[in-house]
Amino acid sequence: MFPASFGYVAARSVDEALELMSKHGEEAKLLAGGHSLIPAMKLRLTSPRTLIDLGTIPGLRDIRTDGGNLIIGALNVHADVASSDLVRKHLAGLADAASMIGDVQVRNRGTIGGSVAHADPAADLPVILTALNASFVVKSMQGSRVVAVDDFFTDFFTTAMNANEILTEIRVPLPPAGCGTAYAKLPHPASGYVVVSAGALIMRQASGTCVSARVAIGGLGSGPIRAIPTEMELQGKPLTSQVIAAAATKAAEETDPDGDPYASADYKRHMATVYARKAIEAAVERAAR
């Protein structure tokens, strides 16, 4: 299988890419790693008239700290996010998630920017980035704006980005001392995509009490879902395994996922509580180090 014919243009800068988008209009799509787009094009699920290659832009591949944030360029491949010393040190949960995407070959090409902009409900990064309270820098010909993760993933394969915008940077607040982050995933055994998954950011006092928690669940909706009832059950409580288990039982509250041939809705909701517990326990263990 191969795609329908299309035209190809290589951008050498974000500004040039924005101009090309304006010139080619709605029938053009952006190409980064291509590991969601090209499979879709090979199956003729999408047949854009023009591909604008972002991969030919030098740059957008930094991983650096800046003030209180870790800044990740949108064109970083998952393998580099997973192996980055900065990511592993400060945001272990993000390294976890990036290392669980697809397989080795996919991680050598797929990009964090592409994954975020594509907003696949079965993807890993939107879930962990929700737990980590990330924000996204998107650029248009009118300038840049920053969108918080809680406002970003609006529906299946849909984000708050406009059609004339390019995602350039992912910003993740550097967790202060006493924080732990983790990601746990139940993968579909054939495709490797998320059946359910959980990302957790836990801030813990030295006494073992939870100061704050952000827990995000994947696989139960059109995008990542904050497990607010779970977060509220943890806040202010001692982070014992009993407290964590009780909080995790609420992780699927008020969710209404679809069942599918692999996993019924009840199974997904139950496994969400199991994986929420795993992610919270791992985050707490890291916070306690």
């Binding site: 035209g7 080795v104 070959q105 090409r109």
Partner: protein
């Protein structure tokens, strides 16, 4: 603009197994077909429609990648290594030897992809555990062997490469 002009062929320059090739390609040409059909390097295989099986695995700029999910135009300026580029004259790469010594193949269809992924693994992790080998091969599917001898072949090769 006419349709033909819009979908015009694009010039690319790709170094494959150390040899530079200048070519004109349709934008939609996948790297795997460029290698197989334009360069006659048929050791890289097309196994599935869904980017899952890894029979198409090659190295691009030093990393194992699925050439069925990369456009030839994306390889412009890149260094690509295929299974044909592993042997040194008559001398097999240790991973190729391992697949012979430990019977790591039956039909052989997945084998070039398995070998290319294994070579990349051993370049970054010269002494992998069985689990690490299995995880590294998550993107390579085999319908014949049940994988056991593939893991043994790679372990054999790792031993040989460590001993020098």
């Amino acid at each position: 603009m006419t349709a033909e002009a819009e979908y015009a062929a694009v010039p690319i320059s790709v170094t494959v197994n150390g040899v530079k090739h200048d070519a004109m390609v349709e934008p939609r040409m996948l790297l795997v077909y460029f290698l197989r059909e334009q360069l006659a390097l048929t050791g890289t295989h097309v196994g599935c429609d869904t980017s899952q099986c890894g029979a198409c695995t090659v190295h691009m700029n030093g990393r194992a990648v699925k050439s069925c999910t990369i456009l030839a135009v994306q390889a412009n300026g890149a260094e690509v290594k295929t299974i044909e580029g592993l042997a040194n004259g008559d001398n097999f790469h240790p991973v190729q030897e391992g697949f012979r010594e430990k019977h790591g193949l039956q039909c052989g269809y997945c084998t070039p992809g398995m070998i290319m992924t294994a070579v990349h693994l051993l370049e970054t992790n010269p002494n992998p555990t069985d689990d690490e080998i299995k995880h590294a091969l998550e993107g390579n599917l085999c319908r014949c062997t049940g994988y056991i001898n593939i893991v043994e072949s790679i372990k054999w090769a790792a031993d040989k490469m460590r001993k020098g």
